[in-house]
């Protein structure tokens, strides 16, 4: 048996787990985001990988019913939808500030959509809170991983429905 193309995933994730399934739930529901602090310009380079079908079904529900995510699509519409989605679901704050992330663009790689974002700090705060709820509106089983890197320091965080927030120290003193 063949695993179904991701485009139908939403449908069968939901349906096939209980009934006889010719299809395998397409994967575990995980997004991975690499978060890298670049000291030279006080910024985070953010690279998020999402399954195309998952994000597509969310955007379809929330905005354009017949939206298809494919490389030959109207880029600006998709980009603005994604910008909003990331603004709502990948949030960086400190005690004093809420930071704005810039959506730089995206690439389609096989069944994944790779999104590139950047956060530029005017002034560094010591503690940064990260809230990652990407695709939590898609699946209850959704989990998100952030691989954080700052120089040689590396750390990974697992965001879940019960623990959607973590704190990182930017300037360990």
């Amino acid at each position: 048996m063949r695993i179904l193309g991701k485009r139908f995933s939403l449908f069968f994730i939901v349906v096939c787990t209980v009934l006889l399934s010719a299809f395998i739930p397409h994967k575990f529901y995980v997004t991975t985001t690499s978060l890298r602090f670049v000291e030279s310009n006080n910024s985070f380079q953010i690279t998020s990988r999402l399954f195309i079908e998952d994000i597509e079904s969310i955007l379809v529900q929330s905005s354009i019913p017949d939206l298809k995510l494919a490389p030959d699509n109207d880029e600006s519409v998709v980009d603005s939808l994604l910008t909003n989605y990331f603004e709502d679901n990948l949030i960086f704050t400190s005690v004093e500030n809420e930071f704005k992330i810039n959506f730089l663009g995206k690439e389609y790689k096989d069944d994944m959509m790779v999104c590139y974002l950047e956060l530029k700090f005017d002034k560094l705060d010591e503690n940064i809170n990260i809230q990652n709820t990407l695709l939590f509106d898609f699946s209850e089983e959704q989990k998100n991983i952030i691989h954080y890197r700052n120089g040689n320091q590396r750390k990974s965080f697992l965001f879940t429905h019960t623990q959607p927030r973590f704190k990182i120290k930017l300037n360990p003193l």
Partner: protein, 769 residues
């Protein structure tokens, strides 16, 4: 030799002990012992003991046997009531050495019974989002009345046979045991309600087209089928829970399919009565196709199919098929089908490549389906054996890809206006290659899918990758704008995310399909990638291809077990692979190998402090040693900058003298003395052992590639040190330069440490351009 010069013993002691840590100052508790946990440990504990059924070489043994089960069936499709009726006569030949007092028959349809226990196999709780059809079917509608209704089970004399149904298995109790070598004939009469496979996400059923009120049936697991009895499992009666597929016997089939008179049908086996079921025009085209090798001949075209789907005949027609030596039977039937076929030459045989699709599949299907079938048969035959069946059919089915002997269902549907994206096109070609490819694994090399998903899915996905790449080369127009066919699976880099992922959601490949996380990565992508790496990096294509073909031919029309595959791959290649199977198939370890450090060293006049210390400890002087060459590390106290000057020969009198005494004038002239010596330390944070592929780049811009065999990790699983001597300075070292090992972290792969450009940086560069 029993007398060893004491000098040599001393020298040996120096070498063997140098590098080991000195005796600790304080006394610590003595470490306990341990069992063999070496990555190269033999697989005797994991493998079954070879025997006369299955040999240590991986071939069938002298006593190998398999049961034969032949079926004669009358089947009727009731389109109006969405029901299937059947009466089957089964002839069971007991080739085993054992007498059998009962038979187990598989009833897969029973997984659709209202009260099937399989509905409750998961514990995922409430769903935040449900498709409306699912919600309605779960909470508002009466549940679907699925499953077999067994009307009778009778012996050859029409006497009822005692039987017991346990979920998806039925035991038939025999009046007297079937002795070894005996045959037993009995019959089963049944019917069931056919499910909508689109709603149900099933492997078999119908799709309903609201626009014209027609159904397209793709029917399989539709009759009670004998379970396998063999030397490995006894009766393989592991229940059908939905994920683990099928274990089936070879046999001959004679099947009469009665369907509405205006349906077009195709099935496993050869159509016996084309004259009875085809129009004159269709028959002419059908005959023409049998000898048309260059392009598909359309038997029923789109206009004709559209005309058919408008009427609903009350009459019936019976299509007769005969199939020899198959493990199963499937068929497709609808008014909506367009039908095309072409002949393909495979070895000395002619095979028909066939497609069936409703107009909803066009224009994509007319263009690509049959040629994808043909290419699959060619490539797979080249790597295994000549395709032995007379035909291979690809049937369009919404959303599903599923395989049966000679026939399979494949997805790939354009938009309503006929347009389609590359994703739909390549998805369709890939699934056709994959499902037609399943004819080889597991339809002919008949592994037990219920127990091992990877044996057919992994091998098939590996072959799919090779076929896709050939397809791209053969039909360059199909991949316009790309260098290669965009295979989703197979390339080592594609498995990195999975293998480097969260260990709590990864299972070893050697797991039952019901119990793994991420079955797609586990049973399809990882084994396919492992075999690809085995072929291209570990064994080399020539050794791999011969061994793989040997496996396919040894087990063609037989039932192989995992060990038969593992053992054959070694047996036919003389490549020890226990470490590979252990790591890639029995564990969830991953590859991560890098360069830890690079040290320069030089030939020195004097021994270093360590050797001096040892000499003093043994109360010896330099004169007590046999002629020896000394080296010192650049970063050690013993290093003297003058060692870096001039030829290394200048710094070792012993070496200089030896060379002058032992080399001829001629040899001395051509003597190349390496000027630079390096000790490179490779680290292995990953659990998998793999050959170390290294590219050394020199100051003059040239480079040299060296592959250190995997055996280098035998005695140290964490770090190994290799020496590189060269007359040129090394400027750069890169491990796995072509990304062929699925190394999950390449940030440690280069020296001097160089941050590989991240995806982020590459993207920024690309957008700036």
């Amino acid at each position: 030799m029993n007398i060893i010069h004491s000098h040599l013993i001393f020298l040996a002691t120096l070498f063997f002990t140098s590098g080991l840590s000195a005796q600790p100052d304080s006394v610590v508790a003595k470490e306990g012992g341990h069992t063999n946990n070496n990555k190269f440990k033999q697989l005797y504990q994991e493998f079954f003991t070879p025997n006369s059924y299955r040999t240590a070489s991986g071939a069938p043994g002298v006593d190998y046997y398999q049961q034969q089960v032949d079926y004669t069936m009358d089947i009727e499709l009731d389109d109006k009531n969405k029901r299937l009726y059947g009466e089957e006569k089964i002839t069971y030949t007991n080739n085993s050495p054992d007498a059998l007092s009962y038979l187990w028959v598989q009833l897969e349809q029973n997984i659709r019974k209202k009260d099937a226990i399989a509905h409750e196999k998961d514990g995922n709780g409430a769903k935040p989002l449900m498709m409306v059809e699912e919600f309605v079917s779960d909470y508002l509608k009466d549940p679907f009345e699925g499953g077999f209704n067994i009307q009778s089970v009778k012996d050859a004399n029409n006497r009822p046979l005692k039987h017991l149904i346990n979920a998806t298995m039925m035991r038939i109790d025999l009046p007297t045991p079937i002795k070894s070598g005996d045959q037993y004939t009995f019959s089963i009469k049944w019917w069931y309600n056919i499910n909508n496979h689109v709603e149900n996400r099933a492997r078999s059923g119908f799709e309903y087209f609201t626009e014209d009120g027609n159904r397209a049936y793709v029917i399989a697991q539709f009759f009670p089928r004998l379970a396998v009895y063999n030397d490995v499992e006894g009766w393989q009666n592991y229940q059908f829970w939905g994920n683990g597929e099928f274990a089936l016997n070879f046999g001959d089939y004679e099947v009469n399919l009665t369907v509405p008179a205006d349906h077009i049908v195709d099935a496993t086996g050869v159509l016996q009565n084309p004259k009875d079921v085809l129009s004159k025009q269709e028959l002419n085209r059908y005959k023409k196709a049998q000898n048309t090798f260059d392009k598909p001949v359309i038997i029923v075209n789109q206009a004709e199919a559209e005309e058919r789907e408008a009427g609903f005949s009350e009459k019936k027609k019976t299509w007769k098929f005969i199939a020899e030596n198959v493990r199963d039977f499937g068929f497709a039937s609808s008014r909506k089908f367009i039908w095309d076929m072409m002949a393909v030459k495979i070895g000395s045989q002619k095979v028909m490549a066939i497609s069936l699709y409703p107009k909803e599949g066009n224009p994509l299907w007319e263009e690509y389906s049959t040629i994808a079938v043909a290419q699959t048969l060619k490539t797979y035959s080249k790597f295994t054996f000549d395709y032995p069946y007379p035909k291979a059919i690809s049937v369009h089915a919404k959303n599903q890809g599923m395989e049966y002997p000679m026939i399979c269902w494949n997805y790939g549907r354009p938009e309503k206006d006929g347009t389609y994206s590359d994703r739909v096109k390549f998805g369709m070609i890939s699934v056709i290659i994959h499902e037609v490819g399943h004819n080889f694994f597991p339809m002919i090399v008949n592994s037990d899918e219920r127990q091992w998903g990877w044996m057919d899915e992994g091998l098939d996905t590996f072959m799919q990758y090779l076929t896709e790449q050939e397809f791209g080369k053969k039909f360059p127009n199909s991949i316009m704008g790309l260098d290669n066919y965009p295979s989703r699976r197979g390339a080592p880099s594609k498995i990195v995310n999975y293998m480097g992922g969260d260990q709590s959601f990864i299972s070893p490949i050697m797991s039952n399909p019901e119990n793994v996380y991420q079955l797609g990565s586990n049973a399809y992508a990882k084994p396919a990638t492992a075999l690809n790496i085995l072929r291209e990096t570990v064994m080399g294509k020539e050794l791999f291809d011969y061994a793989f073909k040997t496996y396919a031919q040894r087990w063609m029309f037989k039932h192989p077990s995992p060990e038969d595959f593992f053992r054959t791959m070694e047996d036919a290649s003389a490549v020890d692979l226990d470490w590979f199977w252990r790591g890639w198939f029995y564990s969830t370890d991953y590859v991560d190998i890098g360069v830890q450090s690079v040290k320069k060293f030089f030939i020195s006049k004097e021994p270093n402090a360590e050797i001096k210390g040892k000499l003093a400890a043994y109360n010896m002087t330099l004169d007590d040693l046999p002629p020896a060459v000394f080296t010192v590390m650049e970063d050690s106290e013993d290093f003297n900058p003058e060692y870096a000057e001039g030829s290394p020969m200048n710094h070792s009198k012993v070496l200089d003298t030896y060379v002058k005494d032992n080399f001829t004038e001629e040899q001395l002239k051509g003597l190349k003395v390496p000027k630079y010596f390096y000790e490179i330390e490779f680290e292995k944070p990953g659990g998998l052992v793999m050959p170390i592929i290294v590219e050394y780049t020199f100051a003059d811009g040239t480079s040299e590639r060296i592959t250190y065999p995997v055996q280098v990790w035998r005695k140290n699983d964490k770090v190994v040190r290799k020496v590189m001597a060269s007359d040129k300075e090394i400027t750069n070292i890169l491990v796995d330069p072509d990304l062929e090992t699925a190394d999950i972290d390449i940030s440690n792969n280069s020296w001097p440490k160089k941050e590989a450009d991240s995806d982020f940086e590459n993207f920024i560069k690309k957008t700036e351009n």
